[in-house]
């Protein structure tokens, strides 16, 4: 029994992720705090997205990929043989880099996920509640039957967030959710994340240092091993510590922009 278990939403133990013979991510040990925002930062190609996608087993779709080590959700290893990845993804939602709403109506975008997850309650209520949760309701309440593609990029991304929270996951993974958006839409997404963390644990991958500093409570700094080209977490701490007095010189160079 681990008494601190309740404090953490999800945890990795000696996690390594492989694509065929290539070890993309090596020996990651992270304990992600509940109802906090954890940012994963680091240079391009250091395995941030790969690590993020391991949490909801999206890497399963790469035929040659496999993991060593464990990812524990409520003490259960998500990579156990008897674990159903479909069920994992129902508990751990995801928002992608480029907004990817379904080519359906705004309403259906949200209702669909709830329906396949066996939601039996009042769908209209759930749609409204999810759209309100994503700060989108006022903008779309009069055009729920319109195609989601009629929305702006920023609105589409908030729709994707609404869609993710409609299935009531515990954790929401965000893979550079604002990198394709303009600064105003980005700000709205960041504000929304602060609202969301009251109910959800958020893990966000971002290239944007300021964004990580602004929105996150904890930050994991990733870096490549020079020899093997495997990525790993070199430092993980409270965000203010990472950005003001990091222990690792490489982290300091990176967050102050003196890298490379």
């Amino acid at each position: 029994m681990q008494p601190q278990n309740s404090q953490y939403a999800i945890e990795t133990r000696d996690l390594s992720i492989f694509y065929g013979p290539f070890e993309a991510v090596k020996d990651v040990n992270l304990k992600i705090e509940k109802q906090k925002i954890t940012a994963i930062i680091g240079p391009s190609g250091c395995g941030k997205s790969t690590l993020l996608r391991a949490f909801n087993r999206m890497n399963d779709f790469v035929p040659t990929s496999y993991v060593k080590g464990e990812i524990l959700l409520h003490g259960v290893n998500l990579y156990n043989k008897e674990i159903d990845p479909v069920e994992v993804r129902r508990k751990i939602g995801m928002v992608f880099q480029k907004p990817n709403p379904f080519p359906k109506s705004i309403y259906e975008n949200i209702a669909w996920g709830a329906r396949i997850n066996g939601y039996k309650g009042n769908m209209d209520e759930l749609v409204e509640q999810s759209l309100r949760g994503a700060a989108l309701w006022d903008e779309v309440k009069d055009k729920l039957k319109q195609s989601a593609y009629a929305l702006s990029g920023g609105q589409q991304q908030r729709l994707c967030i609404a869609r993710a929270i409609a299935v009531q996951p515990e954790i929401i993974l965000m893979d550079e959710p604002a990198s394709a958006l303009d600064p105003i839409s980005t700000l709205r997404i960041e504000e929304l994340m602060q609202e969301l963390k009251k109910n959800y644990t958020i893990i966000i991958v971002t290239h944007n240092m300021q964004q990580a500093a602004r929105v996150s409570d904890y930050t994991a700094m990733m870096m490549l091993y020079e020899d093997t080209r495997s990525g790993t977490v070199i430092e993980y701490d409270k965000t203010e510590i990472i950005f003001t007095r990091p222990k690792d010189k490489r982290t300091e160079d990176y967050v102050t922009g003196r890298f490379g």
């Binding site: 779709f61 035929p63 479909v86 129902r90 992608f96 080519p103 359906k104 396949i116 593609y149």
Partner: protein, 318 residues
């Protein structure tokens, strides 16, 4: 400051040099390619128009004949040129029946195969299965015809009973025609499914969709334009298919939608009659063009219907 001024006040000599340098060039190769592409495009349109004109012209001769009336042609259900009876429905019914059977076979099977290949099969299985399926498309239709007559029909007769289904019947022809257009439909549908952006697939799976839910409720609707195009081409192939029905479905015109009966389709009739020694300019001869025109029309109407269904149900992604 001084550099700006000097760049604005270029000498006449400099200006001339640059004007020559940037002067529009004549690119003969480009012009030649553009005109030849244009000619080829015009040629295809011209051929289509020419065929339509010839068909229409000869068909007019047919309808101008005192033996024939437009009303009879479009309402009568008897096609017996020897007896002066020209009711097109006797032939249309067979075309529609065999084509409907073919589509009922080919669309569900072809689409399932496409979904399997595009959404379920791993790349290695797919690399083996897809070419095998496409070999089906390379079998000559006359072989399919004899396959229907000599293999499928005997099986059907032993299942349904030889007194209920004849040696020539529309069911065997339709079933085999379905197998013939199956690879076409599966191959085109598979292309349409593969063209659906991966981001939609990821979105569906990240919501906790099973592969079946993702394929049937997100990916297939998004690919419906392409799948619809596959079905339209499939229908056109079925309606226009001649050899299979000529061999396996009988050579007597018969107004019926019962697949167990023998009946001659429009195409099979044209093939049979035009192969004989019809004197030029007779009613029989001209009737072939009227049938051909009708064939055109049936294909067109079926295409329009499928197109309408597709635009109604497709989900457009940008």
């Amino acid at each position: 400051m001084s550099t700006e001024i000097s760049s604005l006040t270029a000498t006449n000599q400099e200006r001339e040099n640059w004007a020559t340098h940037l002067k529009r060039r004549v690119r003969w190769g480009e012009s030649a390619i553009e005109s030849s592409l244009f000619l080829v495009g015009v040629l295809t349109i011209f051929v289509t128009i020419a065929i339509t004109i010839v068909l229409g012209d000869q068909a007019l001769l047919f309808f101008a004949d005192p033996e024939v009336t437009l009303v009879e042609f479009f309402t009568s259900t008897k096609w017996q040129p020897q007896a002066g009876q020209f009711g097109i429905w006797a032939l249309v019914s067979a075309t529609l029946t065999t084509s409907a059977i073919a589509i009922l076979v080919a669309v569900p099977l072809g689409l399932s195969a496409a979904i399997y290949l595009s959404e379920y099969a791993n790349p290695r299985v797919r690399a083996v299965l897809k070419p095998i399926l496409e070999i089906l498309a390379g079998i000559p239709t006359v072989v399919y015809g004899y396959f229907a007559l000599l293999f499928v029909t005997p099986i059907l007769r032993s299942i349904i009973g030889p007194d209920k289904i004849g040696v020539y019947n529309m069911l065997a022809a339709g079933l085999v025609m379905g197998i013939m257009i199956l690879p076409l439909i599966s191959s085109m549908s598979e292309d349409a499914l593969s063209a659906v952006p991966n981001s939609l697939r990821e979105a569906a799976y990240a919501m906790g969709a099973t592969p079946f839910e993702a394929s049937t409720q997100v990916i297939v609707p998004a690919a419906l334009s392409g799948i619809g195009a596959a079905v339209i081409v499939g229908i056109s192939r079925a309606v226009g298919e001649t050899m299979i029905v000529a061999v396996a479905s009988g050579a007597t015109s018969n107004f019926t939608f019962n697949p167990l009966e023998a009946a001659e389709t429009m195409t099979a009739h044209i093939a049979r009659i035009s192969g004989g020694d019809l004197p030029y300019g007779t009613v029989d001869y001209n009737s072939l063009f009227a049938i051909a025109l009708m064939l055109f029309l049936v294909t067109l109407v079926l295409n329009l219907i499928s197109q309408w269904i597709v635009t109604k149900f497709r989900e457009q992604y940008e």
